[in-house]
């Protein structure tokens, strides 16, 4: 369990700089409202699709906001929507891990794509990124967290068991992310760009 506490402290510390960066910048009203809207839509999307287990559009929307608005917004949308949606679905020891994992995905999406994104050139690349990010980042982080939370003995076999038993869930989740990216990418990023140029955010 010491491992759980130590890793928890590390992930919390790694999220703090992004929040402080946002605080220090004294963001404009438009920016604040836009982030709140993105988080609101993401949380809403999770509750719309919650009937289908592990079929979550959240990561796709986080990736889209990272691409459309840059890495900082990507991190904030990821962490805050994980946090806020857990007010509906229940907070637990998994909350910080979800926040961290989704924030990471948003961060990477922003870092990799936000500068040079065009739909024609990158539509498949973004879908592949979504697939890899869901399995490798979100899936692995959450499976690691579940080992640290529920078993407490750090052995190769317990990690292997968690990763193997996580495969079906991760595959469904990754497929849903890719599907939502394919369906929503074009229209959502177009809308974000429109808002950005029209209102100069």
């Amino acid at each position: 369990m010491q491992y759980y506490i130590i890793s928890l402290i590390i992930i919390v510390l790694s999220m703090i700089p992004f929040f402080l960066m946002f605080e220090r910048r004294r963001p404009q009203a438009r920016e604040i409202v836009l982030i709140a809207v993105l988080v609101g839509i993401t949380v809403l999307a999770r509750s719309v699709f919650f009937m289908i287990p592990f079929f979550k559009p959240m990561l796709a929307l986080v990736i889209i906001s990272g691409i459309g608005m840059g890495y900082e917004t990507g991190v904030l949308t990821g962490t805050l929507s994980a946090f806020m949606s857990n007010f509906i679905f229940g907070q637990g020891p998994w909350t910080p891990w979800q926040m961290f994992a989704m924030g990471m995905v948003g961060f990477l999406a922003g870092i990799i794509f936000s500068k040079k994104y065009t739909y024609e050139k990158y539509k498949y690349v973004v879908c592949i990124f979504g697939l890899i990010a869901t399995v490798v980042i979100y899936g692995v982080i959450m499976d690691t967290a579940s080992v640290l939370m529920y078993t407490g003995n750090i052995t190769v076999s317990s990690f292997a068991a968690a990763y193997i038993s996580g495969i079906p869930v991760n595959i469904i989740h990754a497929l849903s992310t890719v599907l939502f990216l394919a369906l929503l990418q074009k229209s959502m990023i177009k809308k974000l760009n429109r808002i950005k140029t029209k209102y100069q955010i």
Partner: protein, 296 residues
């Protein structure tokens, strides 16, 4: 109705939960973990008996049992061997003890989380975040408003879509998902546009001109000061107890508990006292209420 514990100041509630979560995760000790589990059960019962018992039987007990079963299957350390699995790995008494402790610890965390989710409502979290990260708290408060607003608008959009034969009750799953995505996109357009209106209205009312003040309904009382002082003192003593090894337990290779009786006993007492504090408060309130009632 709000009970006495829910009326504590959010800071003292947060201090309480940080303390109990921290100790029950950090110290896996038969007595300490037992105290956590029992007081978490009391707290759950006091806060919402019906729902708690349902959750307890359906979710928490299975979680405890899963914790108990999983450990001996994966861990084969320990000296007292009871039996050999068919694949040749030993089943040891130590791994069973460790599994039981881990199971109860997970159970106590889940049980505390039940009351945590009930007590730490989103407005309190917003207040606590606002003390440290005001802009993030502003985003959180907006999201809290947007979720019901978006839900309302979503239901309107869904009805309108249904009228033109593009509802969500399609048989074909792919078609259903595509329709849902169109709805998402409609929602996004509307939400982005209205967000600009909202931010313009914020600016028109002078957002960003000077420091933002925020309203809060919470007030420190004398009780809160006492509670925080008690929790801090207990925290200090528990750290001392951990450092000095008074509550040290060794599970592998053989089970061994530290023998310093007085220091450990005082740690148990202090921890139990803090854990049961909210239950005691609620119970005292009930007693006072009843005695006043009988006088009338």
């Amino acid at each position: 109705m709000e009970n006495q514990f829910e009326r504590w100041h959010p800071v003292s509630q947060l201090a309480y939960y940080v303390f109990v979560f921290g100790i029950s995760v950090f110290i896996m000790h038969p007595v300490i973990t037992g105290i956590s589990f029992i007081s978490a059960i009391f707290l759950g019962i006091v806060i919402d008996r019906k729902r708690f018992l349902k959750m307890f039987i359906c979710l928490y007990i299975p979680a405890v049992i899963a914790g108990i079963i999983i450990n001996p299957l994966f861990s084969h350390e320990g000296v007292s061997i009871i039996w050999y699995f068919p694949d040749g790995n030993p089943l040891t008494a130590e791994s069973i003890i460790y599994g039981v402790m881990a199971g109860i610890m997970i159970g106590s965390i889940f049980t505390f989380l039940f009351s945590f989710n009930k007590v730490m409502t989103s407005d309190k979290v917003m207040y606590l975040t606002g003390c440290v990260l005001p802009y993030i708290a502003l985003v959180i408060s907006m999201v809290l408003r947007f979720i019901p607003e978006f839900k309302h608008h979503l239901s309107e959009v869904l009805v309108a879509r249904k009228c033109i034969g593009k509802g969500l009750n399609e048989k074909n799953l792919m078609k259903k998902i595509r329709n849902a995505c169109t709805v998402m996109s409609i929602m996004a357009t509307w939400a982005f546009e209205s967000s600009v209106d909202k931010s313009d209205s914020m600016r028109a009312r002078g957002y960003g001109i000077c420091r933002r003040s925020s309203y809060s309904i919470f007030r420190y009382t004398k009780k809160d000061i006492v509670i925080i002082a008690v929790i801090l003192a207990a925290c200090g003593y528990m750290v001392y107890a951990i450092m000095s090894g008074a509550v040290y337990v060794q599970y592998y290779p053989c089970f061994k508990m530290e023998q310093s009786k007085i220091a450990a006993g005082f740690a148990y007492f202090l921890y139990a006292a803090v854990c049961i504090l909210p239950v005691f408060d609620i119970w005292m309130e009930e007693r006072v209420w009843k005695s006043l009632q009988s006088k009338i």
